[in-house]
Subunit: 253 residues, 2 copies
C-alpha cells in the first residue's frame, strides 16, 4: 500500500480523498488544511491535520489547493523523502523543484462540491522529474483512473486553455441562451435536449465533422436576422464566432 497525504480541502482535494479511499493499493494517512473546520469530509478524526509540522512520512504528498497558493505552501513545507506533486493545470512543475522527487498529477475535469463524479473516467495528466518518479505516479494514478496520460508542461498548458474553451466558455454560451429564453418567457428546459445531443454526437463524430448551422452554410439571411435580434456582448460573440467558423471551415464571409 502506498501512503498518501492530501493537502487541501477544496473540490479537487475532496474528490481525490473520496476516490483514493476506495483504492485498495492506496492508504490516505492524512489530510492537511490550515482551516481545520473545512476537513469535515475526512471520516477519521486522527487523519485531520492543520499544522504542517504534523505531517507524517508518506510515499506521496498531493497539493490540491488554489493555483496561486502552491508556491507559498511549497516554501513552508519541509523537504520530504516522499514525492511531492501539485494538481494544477496552469502551474509549472518547477515550482516544486526544491523537493528531490516532484511532479504533477493533473485531473482534467470540472469538480463541484455536491456532485459525484466517476474518477475512473477522468483523464489524469502526469509529469515527473525522473522516469522512476513518472512510473511511480502511473501506479498511483492507475489505481483510481483508467485514463492516465504522460503530459509535459507545454502540453498541460494547452490542455488548460482548451478546458476553458470547452467547459467555461461553452457553459457561458448556455447561460447567455438561457437568459435570452427567459426574456421570451421560455423555460431553459426547452434547450436541454439540444445541448445534450450536441455532446452525444461527439461520441460518433469529431467536432469538426459535427458542425452545422447558418455560419457553416453561409446563410447570410439567417445570420443578418439573428444579428438584428442581438446587442452588446451577445452581438460581438455571434459575429466573432460566425467569422471563426467560416474561416476554419474554409468559407469566405
Amino acid at each position: 500500500m502506498k501512503k498518501v497525504v492530501i493537502i487541501g480541502a477544496g473540490n479537487v482535494a475532496t474528490h481525490l480523498y473520496q476516490s483514493f479511499k476506495k483504492a485498495k493499493q492506496l492508504d490516505v494517512i492524512q489530510v492537511f488544511n490550515r482551516n481545520f473546520e473545512k476537513l469535515h469530509f475526512v471520516k477519521d478524526e486522527e487523519q485531520k491535520v492543520s499544522v504542517l509540522e504534523d505531517l507524517k512520512e508518506a510515499d506521496l504528498y498531493i497539493i490540491a489547493i488554489n493555483d496561486e497558493a502552491i508556491e507559498e505552501l511549497a516554501e513552508k513545507l519541509y523537504p520530504k523523502k516522499g514525492m511531492i506533486v501539485h494538481t494544477s493545470g496552469s502551474q509549472a512543475m518547477q515550482i516544486l523543484s526544491k523537493f528531490e522527487n516532484h511532479g504533477v498529477f493533473y485531473p482534467l475535469q470540472t469538480f463541484s462540491k455536491n456532485k459525484q463524479v466517476d474518477f475512473s473516467e477522468i483523464p489524469v495528466c502526469l509529469e515527473a522529474n525522473s522516469e522512476e518518479n513518472l512510473e511511480f505516479l502511473k501506479v498511483i494514478a492507475s489505481a483510481v483512473s483508467n485514463r492516465v496520460f504522460k503530459v509535459d508542461s507545454e502540453q498541460r498548458k494547452a490542455l488548460h486553455v482548451s478546458a476553458v474553451f470547452v467547459n467555461n466558455f461553452s457553459n457561458h454560451l448556455f447561460t447567455l441562451a438561457a437568459d435570452f429564453c427567459k426574456k421570451e418567457d421560455l423555460p431553459f428546459d426547452i434547450l436541454r435536449p439540444l445541448i445534450k445531443e450536441t455532446v452525444v454526437k461527439l461520441e460518433s463524430l469529431d467536432p469538426y465533422a459535427a458542425q452545422t448551422g447558418p455560419a457553416l452554410r453561409n446563410d447570410q439571411k439567417t445570420i443578418s436576422a439573428h444579428l438584428e435580434m442581438l446587442d452588446g456582448d451577445r452581438k460581438k460573440i455571434y459575429t466573432i464566432l460566425t467569422e471563426s467558423i467560416q474561416k476554419f471551415h474554409g468559407k469566405k464571409l
Copy 2:
C-alpha cells in the same frame, strides 16, 4: 388515424418520417421530393412522390425543406383542405398564409443523417393560425414527442438564435480546442470526459450556477498566461467571452 404527407428528403424529413411511422395515431401516406432518388429512406415505393400534382388529400402536410425554399414551394402548392405547416425555426408562420389552415411544427434538435435520435425527447414548438388548428397540431406532436410547447413567432426566433449559441457555437469551441490539442500531439479523447461533465452538470444546476474558471474568479494571472498562448480569432474569442462572463456575473475587469 391522421393522414400525413411529408415534403422533403433531408435530415429533418427523414427523422420525421421514421418517428411518424412508429406512431399508431399517424399514417404517413406520401413523402414528396423533387429529386426522386433521395427518397430512398421511404420503404413503400407507392408512397414516393416527385410531382406536386400527385399529392393526395391529407390531414396534415409537413414542409421539411431548406428555409430558403419554403416560400417558393408554398407558391407552387395547390390550396389544400388539410393543414400545412413548416418545420423552420427562422421562418414566419405567415409565409404559409395563403392556406386556410396553417402553422409551424418546429422540432428543436440537431439532426444528422446517420445518427438516430429519440424523437420522444425532442421539444416540438407549435404555432397555428387558430386555436382549433393548434389543438390539432398538439394531437399530432404528442403522438411522437413528450415535450410539446406552444411557441409564438417571436419566441421561436429567440429559440433559433439560442440554438445557434448552444449547439453551433459550443461545437465550434470544441473544434478550436481539438485543433489546439492536436498541435500539441494530444488526442481529442482527453477532453471528452470534461465536455460530457459540462453538460451532465446541467441536469442538477442551471448554467449560471455551474460557471467556473479563471474569468469568474477574476484570476488575471491565468487569463494573461492563456492570452499569451493564443493568437488570431482564438485570442479574440477568449477576450470577448472572458469579458462577457465577468460582466454577466457582476465582476469588473
